[in-house]
Symmetry: C2
Subunit: 177 residues, 2 copies
Amino acid sequence: MSLERDTPPNRPEQRDYETGLADSAHLDLRVWLRLLTCTTLIERQIKRGLRGDFETTLPRFDALAQLDRAGGTMTMRELSSHMMVTNGNITAIVDRLLEDGFVVRRADPKDRRVHKVQLTDAGREFLATMIPVHNAWVSEAMAQVDEQDLAHLYKLLGQLKNSALQRDEERDRESGR
Amino acid sequence: MSLERDTPPNRPEQRDYETGLADSAHLDLRVWLRLLTCTTLIERQIKRGLRGDFETTLPRFDALAQLDRAGGTMTMRELSSHMMVTNGNITAIVDRLLEDGFVVRRADPKDRRVHKVQLTDAGREFLATMIPVHNAWVSEAMAQVDEQDLAHLYKLLGQLKNSALQRDEERDRESGR
DNA sequence: TTTGAATAGTTCAAGCTTAAAATATTAACG
DNA sequence: CGTTAATATTTTAAGCTTGAACTATTCAAA
């Protein structure tokens, strides 16, 4: 009894995708909705944090992080592939990072179709200030899950990722060719 | 050796948020990026499917599904809470469902601030045709993960969800009050 | 009852996302 | 060589999302 959490007066309780799901719903669907709920909750925190503390967005942060992980330079295509977004998307994000002075862009002399994006010192510094704060947000979101369970979760998500990836590639093979 | 998958000629390999992550990265961050990868992969499939097969979007599908689960009628606020999006968002989504004839909206006579959204027969039928196809997409994405692992994943995601939710509510308590 | 606070919903600007069409460049091959 | 196919990127229209400002309505308290 005493463990029941009171809903604050006149503030509607936080719901999620699972709420009200029929008892007959299959495990697949339950897992999917719970996965979506977890991602949405954590992503929302991060987006709010990035906006509030750094006046930036998750896609911009992600672009900087991917560039850094890749050693500082990537083509537009590599960037879109690592960020899991379509090609057309990257243009606007990189444009904005250019304005901010966090990256530079130049055509590859060897293949003038290719445009390379490179992290500047300012970009690297900006990223370096954000990374620890960002990682702390992630850790806080997972604070109530103990290390061993996290490790197990990591492993299971690896299986799920491979399963979903395989499905993705099948679709590609059918249509794209 | 023979198990190595060839990348199709001239088509860049599919990457994800994890690629290139430093070995020193903490488990928290690894879990988060893998979680995000899984969600993105599955969500992308569903969005493409809904567009291709039903000329609709995930938010619209989700709104219909939430209405159905709730018995057919919800207030705008309830809908936004279950869909985990902000209030202002719902207006446009419901507007579109109204156009399509899948819902009706009327003011509550008891409290004229409240607007109730109700599923129409057409909406219920449309949803009924989508549900099995949608669920099949989800199942396909998870096809390579066996039942027991899925059950375990479900449990672990439950812990993560509670952990992230608690964090969310703390933030609310600090600012909102 | 009047007045101020809370609540439900809408509108708006800014930003992200996608698919499709368009442009530019390079590769492939007869 | 010249034509065709493939690739890298940009542009555009349509749609989703957020936070903030705004309207309308109800509640609460002096």
